[in-house]
C-alpha cells in the first residue's frame, strides 16, 4: 500500500530478545516537516529513529519514504542493494559524530558521493566546499577530525550527511555529547536547515530547541507514543500524566 505522507511508520514493533522496545508505533511526517521525538532514556526513541534507515530493523511493521518501503522483505542480496540505495536518501547524524578519523574533513565529505554517485574529483571538491560553507567551516577543509572541537565535528558530520543530498535528515541526540558552550553552533546549523525546509526527525533532550524549531513534538515512553502535538500545545498543556511528569522533571533540571 502506498503512503501519502513523506515518511510513514506503520504499526512498528521491535524487540531485542524478550525485551520489547517499540510497540505498535504509527507516525507520519510530511515533506518539510520538523519533528522532535522526546522521552526518557529507554523509551525507544533512538531505536525508532534507527529503524527508519534500517540500522535497527523493525521486528514488524513498515517504514516508508516517499512511497518506497524501506524495510522490504527481500532475499539477502537484493535487500543489501535496496537498503544501500534507500539509505542514500536518508542522512543521519549521531551523538558521537562518527567522523572517519583517517580522512580529512574533505575526505569525510567526499568519500560517499564519489563512491556511490561516481562524481568527479572536482565536483566532489566543489560539493565539499559548498557544504562546509553552509556549516561555516570552509577553512577546516584540510584538517583531520582530531583537530576539531566537538561542535565543529558535529557540523562536519552534518555537512557529510548533506553532501548525499538526502530527502530527510535524522538527528540522534546530535548535541548530547557536546560541551554546553558548543551546543548552540550545532543548533544554529539545524535551524538553518529548518529554514530551508529540510524534512527532519530529531531525537533530542533539549526542550527549548524542540519548542523553537519543531512543528511537532512526539513524546515516547515505554516503547509507545504517549502524546504528540505542536510544541505550543504539548509543552504548555500536556494531556497525559506521563508527559507532565517527564516535562516537570526535565524542565526542573534545565532550570537549575
Amino acid at each position: 500500500m502506498r503512503s501519502s505522507a513523506f515518511v510513514e511508520i506503520k504499526n512498528a514493533a521491535k524487540s531485542f530478545g524478550t525485551l520489547q522496545v517499540l510497540r505498535d508505533i504509527n507516525l507520519s511526517v510530511e515533506r518539510g516537516q520538523i519533528v522532535a521525538i522526546i522521552g526518557p532514556s529507554g523509551s525507544g526513541k533512538s531505536t525508532l529513529l534507527r529503524a527508519i534507515n534500517e540500522l535497527d530493523p523493525l521486528t514488524s511493521g513498515e517504514v516508508w519514504l516517499e512511497g518506497v518501503q524501506i524495510n522490504r522483505q527481500l532475499p539477502p542480496r537484493q535487500y543489501e542493494k535496496h537498503v544501500n540505495q534507500v539509505r542514500q536518501n536518508i542522512g543521519m547524524v549521531f551523538q558521537h559524530f562518527n567522523l572517519f578519523p583517517h580522512l580529512t574533513v574533505r575526505g569525510n565529505i567526499t568519500l560517499a558521493p564519489r563512491m556511490l554517485k561516481g562524481i568527479s574529483e572536482a565536483d566532489a571538491n566543489a560539493l565539499a566546499e559548498e557544504q562546509l560553507t553552509k556549516v561555516g567551516l570552509l577553512e577546516k577543509i584540510d584538517e583531520y577530525p582530531s583537530r576539531l572541537s566537538g561542535g565543529q565535528k558535529q557540523r562536519v558530520a552534518i555537512a557529510r550527511a548533506l553532501a548525499m543530498k538526502p530527502k530527510v535528515m535524522l538527528f540522534d541526540e546530535a548535541t548530547s555529547a557536546l560541551d554546553p558552550e558548543l551546543v548552540e553552533e550545532v543548533n544554529q546549523v539545524m535551524k538553518q536547515l529548518a529554514e530551508e525546509h529540510m524534512t527532519m526527525i530529531i531525537v533530542t533532550h533539549e526542550m527549548d530547541f524542540a519548542a523553537s524549531v519543531c512543528d511537532r513534538v512526539i513524546f515516547m515512553d515505554g516503547g509507545v507514543v504517549v502524546e504528540e502535538g505542536p510544541p505550543s500545545v504539548l509543552f504548555k498543556n500536556p494531556q497525559e500524566e506521563r508527559t507532565r511528569n517527564f516535562l516537570r522533571k526535565h524542565l526542573a533540571r534545565n532550570g537549575d
Binding site: 572517519f100 568519500l111 550527511a161
Partner: protein, 232 residues
C-alpha cells in the same frame, strides 16, 4: 640455591674461559646461516600474513561454514606445539604423499602456524574499530565491502602494526625450531659446530647474538612503520 653458589664460585675461580679465536674463525659461517634464518623469516612472514588475512576474513564472514573453518584453523594451530606441527608435516607428510624438502616444510609449517596467531591479531584489530564508524558509512549508503575497504580496514591496519610486529618477533625466534628438521639455519649451525668443537657456550652465544641483531632491526622497522601510520 647453595648448589648455584658453588657453581658460580667454580666458574669464577676457573676464570673467564671463552674461546674468542674460535668465534672469530667460525663467525662467517654463522653469518651465512643467519641469512638462511632471514630468508626463512621473510617467507614465513609472507605466508603467515596471507593465512592471517584469509583466516580473519573467514572468522568475520557472515557464512557459518567459513566462520567454523576459521575457528577450527585457529584452535588447531594455536592449540598444538609448532614443533609437533613441523614433525607431522616433515616426517609424517611422506606417509600421506606430501614430500617436501626441509626448508619448504619449515616455511609452510611455521607460516601456517603463525598465520593462526595473525588471524586473531587481524580480527582483533578489525573488530576494535568503533561500531559507529561502520554505522556512519552504512547510513551514507555504502555497502558492507565498501565500508570495510574504505573505512574499517584503513583504521584497523594502523592498529594491527604493533601486534603483528609481536607475531613476527615470535616467528623469527620460532624459526629455530626448524633446526629439528635439519634446516641449516642459525640454530642448526650452532649445533653442528658444537659437534666438532665441543664449545656450546660460544656457539649458542654467537647464534643468540645474531638472532638479537635480526630482532632489533625488525623491531625498529615495525616502530617506524607504526609511527608513520599514526593518524595525525
Amino acid at each position: 640455591m647453595s648448589a648455584l653458589l658453588v657453581l658460580a664460585r667454580k666458574t669464577i675461580s676457573k676464570g673467564p674461559n671463552m674461546d674468542i679465536d674460535l668465534i672469530l674463525r667460525v663467525y662467517p659461517f654463522f653469518i651465512e646461516a643467519a641469512w638462511v634464518t632471514i630468508e626463512l623469516s621473510v617467507l614465513t612472514t609472507i605466508l603467515g600474513l596471507t593465512c592471517g588475512a584469509l583466516g580473519a576474513a573467514a572468522r568475520l564472514s557472515r557464512n557459518v561454514v567459513l566462520r567454523a573453518i576459521g575457528a577450527v584453523y585457529v584452535s588447531v594451530f594455536r592449540g598444538t606445539p609448532a614443533l609437533i606441527q613441523l614433525f607431522i608435516l616433515y616426517f609424517g607428510g611422506p606417509q600421506i604423499g606430501i614430500n617436501l624438502d626441509a626448508f619448504d616444510a619449515g616455511v609452510i609449517g611455521l607460516g601456517v602456524n603463525i598465520g593462526a596467531y595473525m588471524t586473531e591479531t587481524m580480527r582483533g584489530a578489525i573488530i576494535s574499530v568503533n561500531k559507529g564508524q561502520t554505522e556512519a558509512a552504512r547510513t551514507l549508503g555504502m555497502s558492507r565491502w565498501e565500508t570495510m575497504r574504505k573505512v574499517v580496514l584503513p583504521q584497523a591496519m594502523r592498529m594491527m602494526i604493533r601486534p603483528l610486529g609481536v607475531n613476527i618477533n615470535a616467528l623469527i625466534k620460532g624459526t629455530a625450531l626448524v633446526a629439528a628438521i635439519s634446516v641449516v639455519e642459525l640454530t642448526y649451525t650452532a649445533q653442528r659446530y658444537i659437534g666438532s668443537t665441543y664449545k656450546p657456550f660460544e656457539m649458542f652465544l654467537l647464534s643468540g647474538v645474531l638472532y638479537m641483531v635480526i630482532i632489533y632491526i625488525v623491531g625498529h622497522g615495525i616502530s617506524w612503520l607504526d609511527r608513520k601510520a599514526r593518524i595525525v
